[in-house]
Amino acid sequence: MKRCFAAALNWALPLALAIAATPLSAQVKQQASPIDDLLKRAMDAYNDLQYTRADSLARQVLAVGPRITSGQRTQALMVLAAAAYPDDPNSQRRAVALSTLKQIVRTNLGLKMPQELTWAGLDSLVEEARRTTFGLEVTADNTQEVIGPQGTAHVSVRSSRPGTFQMTIMPASGGSAAVMDSLPVSTTGQFTFGAMRNDRPLFNTGEYSVIVTGVDAVNHDTVTVRYEARVVAPSLDFVNATTKVDSSKLLPEKTPRYGAKSIVPAVLVGAAAYALASSLRADDENIKTNVAADSKGVAIGGMLAAGTVAAGFLDRGRSIPGNIAANKAYVAAVQKSFADAQTENRRRVTDYKATFYFNSEAR
């Protein structure tokens, strides 16, 4: 009884001082939470040795359901356990207290009862609950920055007994899991995961649920803890590189084929040769009479004409050095652009940063 009073004093005095020192606006804020008010009244009832009332008030808190925070829930359960196992033997309901404590340590392995609620007997009961329950504790640094494809974030897990663990990180709004990982049988372990895969971000900026499930290796008792995390993961934009030469942009490197254009010079040169052999004669009738026209003129004229036409149609065009140089420069520019883009994209991947803000309070 004396211990209870002292405990009540220990708890109430700082609270009173704190309230007195708190600005009015903050007080209004605090009073604005009916859950906290209920919890306070439950604590007050416990300290006033009104265990039944404390139990009733704590149950009212738990009855609120998912709207209460993890901390409020744990606090309500602790009041419930303390009210079920006070140091007054006549008021002790050991089974209820043990069951309640087991409920707490399942997701709060490091449970420590507040000084104002506990006593030696209850501490022993907490230890018994911890010893006989498959409990899980998940810890992570609140803020973790992950840089580049090699950067990793970590979530640690600890259990009261050997078990296997699985972690899933998925968007709070639902959808595909961004990360799934598992650990082999152990009592401690650490999940390690990156923010990228194949040089692409795994996360989008937003709220995520971190769900850790532990399975007792012996009796397969399963405990699931759910945390919230906010991920700030900017989109990763890549420079769009020109990867190949657009042949439609290339300038012609040769002139068009000469082709049919060769017919005119062919006719001219052939006809000229023929005319020179047969028509261009000395200004003398004797020579014209006695010396025949050169019959080779036809053959030579024909050869010249045929050769010219054949060459025209076999022509592949003349190279245009200016265009060749321009095309070469273009190809080099494409290659350089691609290399530059690759370098820039590599840098963006390497410098990519995602930040994880873990809410350590389990839901």
Binding site: S182, R200, D237, A282, D283, I300, G312, A341
Partner: protein, 235 residues
């Protein structure tokens, strides 16, 4: 065993500031390869016949002319020198040399020049019958694409010139040929046909210094021209 399974929700790379490479642009005045400046040095042979009428006696002999030809051309101007000597059976040897100036591009050039023509025999090598004359004509050289083949047609008339202009009555020459530049090496070959017609006159000065024409000797030289030589530049 540890595994990480990743969702398919991968961030999609978006095009940001697409770095397109500008298309190649042809440099100002991008022209086909080759240069219009050209140096050509060649040796040639004309296989054919030489006919002349001396005092109503026509003589025709087959034979050949050997010569050298040098051509130096720029885009719109050119210069050439030619020397050749022909032997036709028992006829007097025929030697000529000329220099020509070409104006305008090779595709269509006007050529003017001067020529000395000589007829001589082995017994009278030091005092040949010489004829000096001017030349005026046209020349056209066309490239057939990038084949290295060119057609060449030229024609010129001989114009009386020199101290005794009456020695040259008239004359013409014409040539049609193909020139083929061998790829990768600065060499070319030539095949064509050439004809020269010329009428020289025997002239004597009288007491007053006037020219007296004693007779004329028409002649024609024609044959297949084969040549080869060095070519630098051109296309």
């Amino acid at each position: 065993m540890r595994s990480i399974l990743v969702s398919l929700a991968l961030a999609t790379a978006t095009a940001l500031g697409a770095q397109g490479v500008p298309a190649p642009t042809a440099p100002a005045g991008a022209k086909p390869s080759g240069t219009k400046a050209e140096l050509r040095v060649s040796g040639f042979m004309i296989n054919g016949d030489h006919s002349y009428d001396f005092s109503n006696n026509v003589s025709t002999e087959t034979g050949s002319i050997q010569g050298v030809d040098v051509l130096l051309r720029a885009a719109a101007i050119g210069l050439s020198f030619r020397s050749m000597t022909g032997t036709y059976g028992d006829q007097p040897h025929l030697t000529s040399a000329d220099a020509r100036l070409y104006l305008f591009p090779p595709a269509f050039s006007i050529m003017v020049g001067a020529q000395r023509r000589a007829l001589w025999s082995d017994l009278n090598a030091t005092s040949p019958s010489q004829f000096d004359m001017g030349l005026a004509g046209l020349s056209s050289t066309l490239s057939i694409g990038g084949t290295g083949l060119r057609t060449n047609i030229s024609a010129a008339v001989y114009l009386p010139a020199g101290e005794i202009k009456e020695k040259v009555k008239n004359g013409m020459e014409g040539e049609a040929s193909l020139l083929y530049r061998i790829p990768m090496v600065p060499l070319f070959v030539q095949l064509g046909y050439r004809t020269e017609v010329f009428t020289g006159q025997a002239v004597r000065k009288d007491q007053n210094g006037n020219s007296v024409i004693l007779g004329s000797t028409p002649e024609e030289v024609r044959g297949v021209r084969l040549g080869a030589g060095l070519q630098l530049g051109g296309h």
